[in-house]
């Protein structure tokens, strides 16, 4: 029987659709032309210029700092929230809690951004990196809580109780039984939070204060008035770093079961 070619064609079309723009961007980062009006020869001039752009690196540093901090804090808060939502699912208070955690996932970003800004202004919190961090935690917590909650829902809590019956304290049970079982959810939630935080533009634009420009804000303002090829070069570097990190993490996670098995 002849197998249908359709799945292959669809896969190819999807890959084409997703990756062609990225490939064009990477190619253009090596284009000597500023306007990409055509190929004007291979050149590293944009990468060289990027080295002399302290503002861009400062913005990239701010973005990484905020993303790392927001991920760490929202992982802790989100996991605790998911635990409460799972253990006390039937209480009326937790149903309210669920709505509170769920709302940021569906609220329009522009609304969240402007209301956070008005709140910070009313509360007299000086705008800056700290307000961006707080804003990112507010939406990252929801994403972490939902991913971890999904993980909680398909595991048997009796395992933890069994551990406690066998003499493990609450902390030991959490560390040796609960956390390892939650790990896929934690990793997924953490990656999600990090990604969302590092490329958020709308909310960040509103709550950023003087001296707190993040990479998306910088890139967005450069598209109109700066040098777009610099953005291509920067994106290519970020892509390379991301691919390297993903490849490394897959390597590492593959090796663990082999070694222990």
């Amino acid at each position: 029987m002849k197998r249908s070619r359709l799945p292959l064609a669809v896969t190819a079309a999807v890959l084409f659709f997703f990756y062609l723009p990225i490939l064009i961007l990477v190619a253009n980062s090596f284009n000597a032309s500023r306007f990409a009006g055509g190929w004007r020869g291979f050149s590293l001039v944009w990468y060289k210029r990027l080295l002399h752009e302290p503002d861009i690196w400062r913005a990239a540093g701010n973005s990484l700092l905020i993303a790392a901090a927001a991920t760490a804090v929202s992982l802790v808060l989100g996991t605790v929230a998911a635990f409460a939502l799972y253990r006390f699912a039937r209480s009326r208070l937790q149903r309210l809690h669920y709505i509170l955690v769920y709302t940021p996932l569906v609220a329009p970003e522009i609304l969240v951004g402007i209301s956070l800004l008005m709140f910070f202004v009313a509360a007299r919190v000086g705008l800056g990196l700290f307000t961006i961090f707080l804003a990112h935690v507010t939406f990252c917590v929801s994403f972490v809580a939902m991913t971890v909650l999904a993980r909680f829902q398909d595991f048997d809590y009796a395992v933890v109780e069994a551990a406690q019956d066998l003499g493990a304290g609450w902390w030991t049970a959490a560390r040796r039984v609960l956390l390892p079982m939650l790990r896929p959810g934690l990793v997924a939630g953490g990656l999600l939070a990090f990604t969302l935080s590092i490329d958020d533009f709308v909310i960040t634009f509103f709550v950023a204060g003087p001296g707190a420009t993040t990479l998306p804000i910088r890139v967005y303002s450069m598209i109109k008035y700066g040098s777009p090829p610099l953005i291509n070069a920067l994106s290519t570097i970020l892509l390379a770093v991301t691919f390297a990190a993903v490849a490394a993490s897959q390597r590492l996670s593959r090796r663990v079961p082999e070694g222990s098995g």
Partner: protein, 354 residues
Amino acid sequence: MSRAGSRRPSACLVIAAALIAGAAPFLPRCGGTRPVLHVYAWADYFKPELVARFEREERCRVVIDTFDSNEAMYAKLKAGAAGYDLLTPTTYMVSLMDSQGMIGRLDRGRLPNLVHVDPEYLKLALDPAMDHSVPYMIVNTVIAYLKSRVSDFQPSWAMFDRRDLRGRMTMLNDMRETIGAGLKFLGYSINTTDAGELARAKEIVVRWKKNIAKFENEQYKTGVASGEFLVVQGYSGDILQVQKENPDVAFAVPREGTVISVDDLVIPIGAPQPGLAHAFINFLHDPAVAAENTTFLSYLCPNKDAYPLLGEDLRINPGVFMDPEVRARSEIIADLGEANALYTKVWDEIKSSR
């Protein structure tokens, strides 16, 4: 000592420690006694070496944050964001913000360099007394074309009627700019609120629309650099940069007059460092600094004593320094308040026409 009792607090401690560790980088840092000037501007709008020089001279630090549209900047400040000392909005936004009481008066005693500001420019300005705004950079709307491919180029808006260039031209996708071109073609003011004049301008722009490839704000630079488009309506600063890549590109100001866009320097109400902000405005209008900045940005700082310091390519370029007669016919876009609705309606009709 109960087992559970000793464990639970430690879990809380771990959570608390993680929260503190997460927030720690954002706690106020001490040290650094130098005052900081916070500038909120378009990206790459000051030559970095000049900013470094100002920092040395004034023993301060300059921190520049960027916005990508007048409207986004306005929305943010209107909602209460504060802490900026100096802004660079476009004139129409300056008049809007000023009418809302968001802009402070300037202390002319701290701005001795304003004597260098070009009086010819001030004749056109919305704030000719420089009471709350100082012009920073000017850009003219021009017509750019490829010298080798367009025969018999005329510096006139009538170029967009040329049948032989059909489908190879673009105009700006900008309500005020493009209707403004039609109004200027007919000899009217670009800030007119006369419905009859607007209706006649609409007919002209609809006629052009049938003859051009599209209304376009960004891709026209690429298009004219690569030869895809032969005639484009664009901004002089951008075309000067395209010229560096394709010397075949030339540009001219239409003789009927054109739109002059200006970004101003203004100090918002409640700026923490008004003294430094005044010093920075004064610094930017030092003729040598203005000339260096103009050369770096390809926009023109309207500082008459900086003009002789510019390179010849800029100084004798009629697309940058307009012929006095053409300049007399050119205008700056003003905020029209409620009359903006007239333009929106005409623009909608142009966009939906076939």
